[in-house]
């Protein structure tokens, strides 16, 4: 259960970015989560509320975009999306591939925020 630690890292990065941008309140955080990132979505959502308490992110929504694994198949010479993480083989021809093109993401994309129209310190 390392999702609390992940949530704390996430909140720290997002909160610092919000402070630097003179944001009053963050309403949503967008995150990409790859199937190979080793992070459980529901667990992260639960921990997010705990980790964001008392920050500019308190009460905000964590919007998680889950990304499946995409491999490059050397046989078909094209990428293929996998619906499992238990067999790294091309769904078309069955060739095994370790050439991962997507699925390891654990990345904060953006924040949605509210701010004063006339910030006092900009």
């Amino acid at each position: 259960m390392h999702e609390l630690s992940i949530a704390q890292n996430l909140v720290e990065i997002a909160n610092t970015a919000a402070q630097r941008a003179n944001v009053q309140r963050v309403t949503a955080v967008r995150l990409q989560l790859g199937a190979l990132a080793g992070v459980v979505k529901d667990s992260l959502l639960f921990c997010y509320d705990i980790a964001s308490a008392g920050t500019l992110l308190e009460g905000s929504q964590l919007l998680i975009e889950e990304l499946p694994v995409v491999i490059y198949c050397p046989q078909c010479q094209q990428t293929a999306t996998l619906d499992t993480v238990q067999a790294f083989c091309c769904p078309v021809c069955g060739t095994f591939s370790n050439d991962i093109r997507q699925g390891r993401e654990l990345e904060i994309l953006s924040l949605e925020a509210e701010e004063d129209e006339h910030p006092t310190h900009s």
Binding site: M1, H2, S5, I6, A37, L106, E107, S110, E112, E117
Partner: protein, 229 residues
């Protein structure tokens, strides 16, 4: 009055860990220290494997050291220190995995002179989930799987098996007794990590240990482009 606004971030959640791991790896590279991160379930035999590995490397004239992570107790460090290698315990105080800053802090406090060692083993906390996400600056991530655990473990923990560079099967001496189905286990490992090297070992009887030791020595030579000393 407030208006909505979108702030682009595009940053990895674990970037702090990744940056520190990169710095650590630079230090290890400069000192020609091959770092091996051992990961497994609790009870897979990491400590027994490491104990015999340290002993054999020292016998062969090499200089290994070990950092051992556990939730609590320094039992493992005491056990490993009998090999004669420098060993330090990291008590994570309940944390289920090691992070790069723990490695960095402990290396500093320990005062280990990296130029005096050739191999640094990091025995991670017994856990096949959480340690997968954290780069510790290692060159080799070795996932340890004992024959008592069930052949489908790679399928249950694909992220960890996929993130590892090598799988080390342990307790091979009791494989027959526990009806370990090796072909199935190997097929499962290949399914979640095509092409991954697998070593079969028994720290108790010594079977496969020479291959493992030789693999480590060769890996270090190849990693740092050293000629055999």
């Amino acid at each position: 009055m407030s208006t909505p606004r979108i702030l682009e971030i595009r940053r990895g959640v674990l970037e702090k860990n990744d940056i520190l791991a990169h710095t650590l790896r630079d230090q290890f590279n400069a000192a020609h220290v091959l770092v091996i991160n051992l990961v497994s379930s609790p009870g897979a035999g990491k400590t027994a494997l490491l104990e015999d590995t340290l002993r054999r490397l020292i016998q062969a004239g090499h200089r290994p050291a070990a950092l051992v992570g556990d939730l609590a107790t320094d039992n493992d460090a005491n056990r490993l220190a009998r090999s004669g290698a420098p060993v330090r315990q990291i008590q994570t105080g309940g944390n289920c995995h090691l992070e790069a800053d723990m490695i960095s802090t402990h290396l500093t406090d320990w005062g280990l002179d990296l130029s005096q060692i050739e191999f640094l083993f990091i025995e991670n906390v017994g856990n096949l989930v959480c340690p997968a996400s954290y780069d510790l600056g290692e060159h080799v991530r070795a996932v340890v799987l004992s024959v008592t655990e069930g052949e489908d473990k790679p399928l249950k923990y694909p992220t960890m098996f996929h993130s590892a560079d090598i799988a080390v099967l342990t307790k091979m001496d009791i494989a027959v007794a526990v009806e370990f189905d090796k072909p199935v286990a190997l097929a499962n490992i290949q399914a979640v990590h095509p092409g991954m090297m697998v070593m079969e070992t028994s720290a108790k009887t010594g079977v496969g240990m020479e291959n493992w030791i030789q693999h480590l020595i060769t890996s270090r030579e190849n990693t740092f482009a050293l000629v055999a000393e």
